[in-house]
Structures are given as structure tokens and as C-alpha cells.
Symmetry: C2
Subunit: 301 residues, 2 copies
């Protein structure tokens, strides 16, 4: 029963086979968000702050922080964003960059044990990222592609993941600190995308014994009612063994799917979280209505 | 790749590992519906008619018909209800009774190949139901309990299912005409209910190679936001190999979950059904708006 333990200065989050599903909020990412990119580049982090607070309030267990802005000082901006997010929330962070100097700048300022996003199966990338992960005692997201690109064959992607886990071990990184992203294709373009992920997640869990994560919303790219597809996908990936996802917690449908999956997996004892999130408010004047402390409210999600 | 073919006089429905998920509408059942029970007993089938039409319109692929009313002439009422439903819809029917004479009365009037609901692993029940199923060339729902009741151990339930499949073979009924119900417990009472079903469905599919069905809404008994739990459960059961369910298609959330599951399983080529169900209406005056035949409408679900 593999468990990956991440932490902030004051809080621990476990990703694991026997744990509730972990949502890593994806919103703090300037890719495709022009206004956020301009603000961050100009040193205005007000939207980073409000995105962090909103995602945690909506149920994110961790936050991804990315500062990938063209022609900007990414290491400095990423470090600043991480310090800010850590000062206003207590959830662990996923430090997200394709630039090694930015990852290190984030790791230097981070308080606790973060998740580094990401390493691929490319030799050059592994040689640069894995020593950093080891040096700072972090965990890492392993993306199952290499120099040859992303294979359409999930078993080839499994082999890439295996190579990364083995290479990580050479640097002293335990497999429980490697979280594999099986890579989710848009199902509108690749009809077998869902089955590929389910097959691969199962193999990753049973054979490599690693935790898994994914950019869940990719699956619905180009389709109407994306949250409907994303919800079905998440439930089905969780049934196949997926243990976390990098996605937006701001959609009540998606959060409901994840809470429902926790119930079905047996990871919500007595359905306590489900009941807290969805119980009906008592009618005014009914039992508890008179006692303020017992008032039941529907949690905003 | 097992396929169970059911039919009405004019239409065939396939339940199978490589087919879209099949929803068997559960509403035509007087159990717990006092008004419906009184009406059916008095020969008023207007609600049976409207329930049949509403469920097919909402997306049911088959209809369960039950006439279990205390102190009523169940065989006659069931036969009459089946003839009525077959006269106004073209979907195959699941003939549902615990009384052997009622099952036979339904089978006598039925046009096509129906599903008989149900046989258990009790010797006496198998000896009475299976010859009927064989005689009328029907398929049958096999419920995985026997004289000792319902085991909490899914592997014991597997053994009961195996016994029924083998006994059916003795009567010349092919395993593809036995659809096993693994039995779904309320997860508010049995925390492992979801995992039990997922484990059992996988074994039934991989080892016995049979299709599966269940009374899906049992899982959420006693919990708030039941459709939320039912949706998550259905998606996760489908990911584990479940191929049909006896449930209500009248909840848009549940139908969305099932359509989403078809997409993720690769059983909705080009996501055509999904897009038809959920595409955005074109703005008035936009492309297609002027041409009546191309007008896009959101399908009621």
C-alpha cells in the first residue's frame, strides 16, 4: 500500500492506495491566461492569491504553482509565487516548471516537502531533475514520455515510467516518491484514450506500485459539457487505481465526482465527508434550527 | 467478448463487453409505490403506460416490468402489463417476478427474446426457473445468493454465480444468456460495498466471462444527494466491467454518467452520442439557425 507524503510547514497530505483521492489545484498557471501572465510578470500577485484561496476553499488538497511566462524571470517569479501561496494557505505545493533553475529557485524557498512537476524519461531531463529532487528531499511527477515522444501504446508508456522509477532509485529516491502521470489524450481525437489510461494506471499500481496523477481535463478537450466527461473519467480512473489529479476544484460537478469516488472506494468512513457536503439543510424551526451551533449548512463546493 | 442479445418483436439490444452500457428502466414496479399498486390491481394501466414512454424517452434501452402486488392476480396483471408495454414501445423487456407462474404468464405473451428477472443460487429456484428460461429461449438475471443468504465475502458470491452458470448450462442455457447481479449493498451501512462490487464484477468478467447487471441505486440508500453517489458508482462499476444496470433513467445526472462512461470506454465512436446530447444550441441567426433541418437542439434527458 504505497503512500506519498507531501507537506507544507504545518500540514501533511498523503497520496496513497488507501487514502482519499487528492486534488491538486491547477489554476495558478499563466499558460493560456494572458492577464495572469501579464500581472505576474509585472509583480502583481493578487490573482495568484485569490486563485489560491478559492481553490483551497473549493476542496483542493494541494496547489500546483507554475510561472511559465515567456521572456520573464521565471525562477524569481516562481519563488515569489510559492512564498506568497505558502504565506496564505497551508496546503503542500506542486512546484511546476520545465526550467531547472526555476524548479531549484522554488525548492530553495519552499517550506516542507513539495512535489516537483515534472521529470520525463529523457536522459538529459532525468540527469538534471532527479538530483535536485533528491537534494531537497522532494517527491516528483514522472511523465511517461521520452526522446521518442509520447507512445500511443500504453505498454510502451509503462516501460518509460519504469525507467524513470529505476533511475530515481539510483539517486536514492524511493518509488513511493515518484508519482507517474500516464498522460491523458483528448478522447475526441483518440477513441481509446480512456481505456489506455485505465489499463496503464492498473499496471503502474500493480507492477510498479506507484501512485499516479494526471491532467484530468485534457480528456474532454474539444467536447461540449467538459465537466461531465471529466467527472466520468475521474471516477473511472479512480476505480482503476488513480490516486491524484491535477485539475480545477472550482467545478462542483468534478468535486462531487471525486467525493463520490471516495465513498465508493471505502475512503470516506461512515460517508462523513459526503454527508457534510450534501446533506439537506434542516427546515427553519426544525431540530437544530433553534441552536445556532447545530445549524446545518450546505458546504459551498 | 461476451454479448447477450435481447429483442422485442422489432428491435434488438446487445449487452456486451464491447457495447454501450445498457440501462434497464426500473420504474414499472409497484413495490413501494402504493398508488401504482392500487391502480394496477384495479386494471388501470395508465401509469404503466406513461412510465414506459417517459423512461424510453429518457434513454432506457430496456424496461423492467414487475407486478408484485399482495393479494392480486400477479400472473394476469404481469402478462397484461407486458402486452401493453410491448404495444407502445419497441424496447426489449425484463420480466420481473419472484412467482414462477407470473414469469411463465409473461413469457407466454412476450414477443421477442426477453430477460427473465431472476434466478438465485437456491436449488429449488434454479430447478423451477431455469427450465422455463430454456423453454422460451430467454436470457436470465442470476442473483448471487443462495440458501445461506447473501455472503459478505464477494468471493463466496462469485462461487454462487459460478454454480448458477454451470446449472444453466445443464439446461442448455449458454453463459452469454446469464447476466449476473453481484448484489449491491448500501454503502452507508457497508463501507466496503463499492470495492466488493468492483472486485466481483472483474472476476465475473475475467473468469466466468458473463455480463453483469445490478440494482444500482441500492448503493446510496439512506444518503443525501443519492444521484451523485449513484453516478460515481455506475462509472466505477463500468470501469470494472459492469455492462448493464436496472435503474431509473429519469435522472439527467445518472444518464450523463452513463453517456460519459460510454465515451471513456471507447463505446461512443467520435463521441457522437455525447455531442448530440450535450452540444450547445447555436445562437439564433447563426450557422444552421436559418435552416430548420440543421437546427441543433439539446436532447431532453
Amino acid at each position: 500500500m504505497t503512500t506519498t507524503v507531501l507537506s507544507s510547514a504545518t500540514r501533511e497530505v498523503k497520496i496513497g492506495f488507501n487514502e482519499p483521492f487528492v486534488i491538486i489545484g491547477e489554476r495558478i498557471n499563466p499558460t493560456g491566461r494572458k492577464i495572469l501572465a501579464e500581472e505576474m510578470k509585472a509583480g502583481d500577485f493578487s490573482r495568484v492569491e485569490s486563485d489560491a484561496i478559492a481553490q483551497v476553499a473549493a476542496g483542493a488538497h494541494m496547489l500546483d504553482v507554475n510561472a511559465g511566462i515567456p521572456l520573464a524571470d521565471e525562477p524569481a517569479i516562481l519563488a515569489q509565487a510559492i512564498e506568497l501561496v505558502q504565506s496564505i494557505t497551508d496546503v503542500p505545493i506542486c512546484i511546476d516548471s520545465s526550467i531547472i533553475e526555476a524548479l531549484e529557485a522554488g525548492l530553495v524557498v519552499y517550506q516542507g516537502k513539495p512535489l516537483v512537476n515534472s521529470v520525463t524519461g529523457e536522459d538529459e531531463v532525468m540527469e538534471r531533475v532527479l538530483p535536485l529532487v533528491a537534494k531537497y528531499g522532494a517527491a516528483v511527477v514522472a511523465i511517461s514520455n521520452d526522446e521518442t515522444g509520447i507512445s500511443e501504446d500504453p505498454d510502451q508508456r509503462f516501460d518509460v515510467a519504469k525507467k524513470i522509477v529505476e533511475r530515481a532509485a539510483d539517486y536514492g529516491i524511493h518509488y513511493s516518491d515518484v508519482i507517474v502521470d500516464p498522460l491523458v489524450m483528448p478522447i475526441g481525437a483518440v477513441n481509446s484514450a480512456g481505456k489506455q489510461v485505465m489499463h496503464l494506471v492498473r499496471r503502474l499500481r500493480e507492477e510498479l506500485k506507484v501512485n499516479t496523477t494526471c491532467g484530468a481535463s485534457n480528456v474532454s478537450f474539444g467536447l461540449p459539457n467538459r465537466n461531465g466527461i471529466n467527472s466520468a473519467f475521474l471516477n473511472m480512473a479512480i476505480a482503476s487505481g488513480m490516486t491524484s489529479a491535477i485539475t480545477s476544484p472550482l467545478h462542483p460537478e468534478v468535486m462531487q465526482a471525486v467525493r463520490g469516488a471516495d465513498v465508493i472506494m471505502g475512503h470516506d468512513p461512515d460517508c462523513a465527508n459526503w454527508i457534510q457536503a450534501y446533506r439537506e439543510p434542516l427546515p427553519a424551526g426544525g431540530e437544530g434550527g433553534a441552536r445556532e451551533g447545530r445549524r446545518r449548512r450546505r458546504r459551498k463546493a
